[in-house]
């Protein structure tokens, strides 16, 4: 059976993927958010497993993680919340989190649990490619999980090819050198970068993340890439409007009314 991510990537459309931090704004919002997002037409979701020291994240996601932890979110709690998620949600689900909480859970146990629940992939910013390859690849594959790798504007051509060669699913293309949420729009530099990568004709499609916050940036990103991921902008929306109003956010991104 093909992984849901790969299935989704075969669809002839630009994909919208949304990130949110599990346990934020309230501990038990996870399921509601997942269902609402799917209902609004989102293609894929990254569920953030909060971490105390999210060093690749900007202030918005960092604050949501702190709040989620305060609310009582733990790996255990999250897995419990997701236990029956596949009864109501069918789009690809990715858990995004830092390596240490997973390591403490036990990588094998963690992957096993993900598989049971129906998680399709993982994004682990601080798990380096070589360590993954040497130590964890077989485990991930055993449980049918896709590990998504990142590239950035500074990633060398060579390394992009290497990452492409070992990737499955898609490449997470960081829009600019920055932690999450720190850009407000894309300029020429980014367009050139998007074009450059697009022209490389990689084996794996790319989904662009970091700095996408509205229809304009979504459109810019997906002109060159298969899709785009929104994180901070959605967290901001959540903190202002709460979980009920996610539909309007997604519509505004897709410019549907």
């Amino acid at each position: 059976m093909m992984n849901r991510i790969n299935q989704k990537l075969q669809e002839d459309k630009k994909l919208l993927s949304i990130y949110f931090t599990a346990g934020y704004p309230n501990l038990h919002d996870t399921e509601t958010i997942l269902q609402n997002l799917e209902a609004s037409g989102v293609d894929m979701i990254e569920i953030g497993l909060p971490f105390s020291d999210p060093l690749a994240d900007g202030p918005t996601i960092q604050a949501s993680s702190t709040q989620a932890l305060k609310n009582g979110m733990t790996t255990e709690v999250l897995f419990n919340q997701l236990k029956d998620v596949r009864k109501s949600v069918s789009i690809p689900l990715i858990i995004m989190g830092y390596f240490n909480p997973m390591l403490q859970y036990g990588i094998d146990a963690f992957c096993k649990k993900c598989a049971e629940i129906g998680i399709d992939g993982l994004i682990i910013p601080d798990l380096p490619v070589d360590v993954y390859n040497e130590q964890y690849k077989t485990t991930f594959e055993k449980f049918g999980l896709i590990n998504v790798f990142l590239i950035t504007p500074q990633t060398s051509v060579e390394r992009i090819h290497f990452i492409d060669s070992i990737s499955n699913g898609f490449i997470y293309m960081v829009s600019s050198a920055s932690v999450t949420g720190s850009q407000s729009g894309f300029g020429e530099e980014q367009s050139n970068y998007f074009k450059r990568i697009s022209n490389m004709n990689l084996k794996n499609p790319q989904i662009i993340g970091f700095g996408i916050s509205n229809n304009e940036t979504f459109t810019q990103a997906t002109t060159y890439a298969k899709g785009a991921i929104i994180g901070s902008a959605f967290i901001k929306h959540l903190s202002k409007e709460g979980v009920k109003e996610t539909d309007s956010f997604v519509k505004s991104i897709l410019n549907k009314t």
Binding site: F51, S52, D53, P54, L55, A56, D57, G58, Q62, A63, T66, L69, T74, T75, E76, Y98, F99, N100, P101, M102, L103, Q104, Y105, P125, D126, L127, P128, V129, V131, F149, L150, I151, T152, Q154, T155, S156, R159, V174, A177, S178, V179, S182
Partner: protein, 393 residues
């Protein structure tokens, strides 16, 4: 068994570079170049010259007569407190600023706890005319005010870290974020033997001058290059790494690492990583760290801003796990008492970090003929207010 780093950047099972891809080019550039650059005669010459003429090295190896008498053993203090800016930290920042120049960097960032590393970084940036941004926890900014003032005088921008425990760990997060955001022109001068490979090794090599000097200084004074013990406090572990460095593989020399127990190892307010920590990842390195069952990093506590860190460098994790070094935890109270004792017996006001190391003598008995070298990592000028309030002087 080797106690030094292996080719892959690990000390035993600890170390590595657990970094986001955004940092890969920077860290990789450093990894590929650091040994090569450090081996250049011109680099070595410049490094050595600055250590001598600017930092004031060699730092003395001082036989502490009255302290030795009190504890009935032979205590030598390695006087890193006499370095320019008042701690061992500058050995590393001198090295790294030269490295940054070689790599063509124009902007320097750093994290700091006690402020000593921040001052040492601001200092070398002024010396080389480079821009300097220092991240420092909001709590540390308050308790190490003199060092904040010094950084400002030196032209550095001090940015408060407002998240988490608002101490060293969080300042490090902020510095890493800055580096992610500024990947091309910026060098991140990490202040201890922590962070992703090659930082722990690079910093240890720059600090290794400490044990290099101890060897010949001890030869001069004791007629032998090896002490029986080398003792140092461990925050991240850089002064310890420097003091141990040339003795790492020589198990005749016993190593003692002193950690901060805060209000007590079991009090919930502690920074004794070896006792309370478990293997995990912090700031890009696999090491021992204090964390919840769940893998969330714990907020540490110590009266000493420089030891108030939930991890240790991977070298120290390995020294602990392998039993090569003995780890001893010292509470706030024990440290403060030992610090005041050094003032009264030897006329030296130690940094509270170093006071933790000094407290070893109340915990462990040494033989009269033991040659004990203790790394006096810094001076206490930055801690005067803490001491004065504590002792109500």
């Amino acid at each position: 068994m080797s106690y030094n780093i292996n080719e892959k950047g690990y000390y035993g099972e600890f170390g590595g570079a657990y970094i986001p891809e955004m940092l890969y080019p920077n860290v990789e550039e450093l990894r590929q170049n650091y040994l090569k650059v450090m081996a250049e005669p011109k680099f070595q010459k410049e490094f050595k010259q600055l250590l001598k003429d600017y930092v004031g090295r060699p730092s003395p190896l001082y036989f502490a007569k009255r302290l030795s008498k009190k504890y009935n053993t032979k205590i030598y203090l390695k006087r890193e407190d006499l370095n320019h800016t008042g701690a061992h930290k500058i050995n590393n920042t001198i090295g790294q600023i030269l490295m940054a120049q070689r790599l063509g960097k124009k902007r320097i960032i750093a994290e700091t706890g006690a402020g000593q590393h921040g001052v040492a970084t601001a200092t070398v940036c002024a010396l080389m005319g480079l821009e300097c941004i220092v991240y420092m926890g909001e709590i540390d900014i308050a308790r190490q005010a003199p060092n904040v003032a010094r950084m400002k005088m030196l032209g550095a921008t001090v940015v408060p870290a407002l998240s988490g425990s608002r101490t060293l760990k969080d300042a490090t997060n902020e510095a890493i974020r800055d580096w992610i955001n500024n990947p091309v022109d910026t060098h991140y001068i990490i202040g201890s033997v922590v962070g992703p490979h090659p930082y722990p090794d690079m910093v240890a090599r720059f600090q290794a001058v400490i044990s290099e000097e101890i060897q010949w200084q001890l030869q001069e004074q004791e007629g032998k290059t090896k002490p029986d013990y080398v003792i140092a406090c461990v925050g991240g572990g850089s002064n310890a790494a420097g003091a141990y460095y040339h003795y790492l593989e020589d198990t005749d020399v016993k190593l003692i690492a002193i950690e901060a127990a805060g209000l007590g190892v079991d009090s919930g307010e502690s920074a004794a990583t070896s006792v309370l920590g478990k293997e995990g990842i912090i700031h890009g390195s696999k090491t021992l760290l204090m964390q919840t069952k769940d893998g969330q990093i714990t907020e540490p506590y110590s009266i000493s801003a420089g030891l108030d860190y939930p991890g240790v460098g991977p070298m120290h994790a390995h020294l602990y796990k392998s039993g090569r070094a003995q780890f001893i935890s010292i509470t706030d109270n024990e440290a403060m008492k030992a610090g005041l004792e050094l003032c009264k017996l030897e006329g030296i006001i130690p940094a509270i970090e170093s006071s933790h190391a000094l407290a070893v003598f109340e915990q462990k008995k040494f033989k009269p003929n033991d040659v004990v070298v203790l790394s006096l990592s810094g001076r206490g000028d930055k801690d005067l207010e803490t001491y004065i309030n504590y002792f109500k002087l």
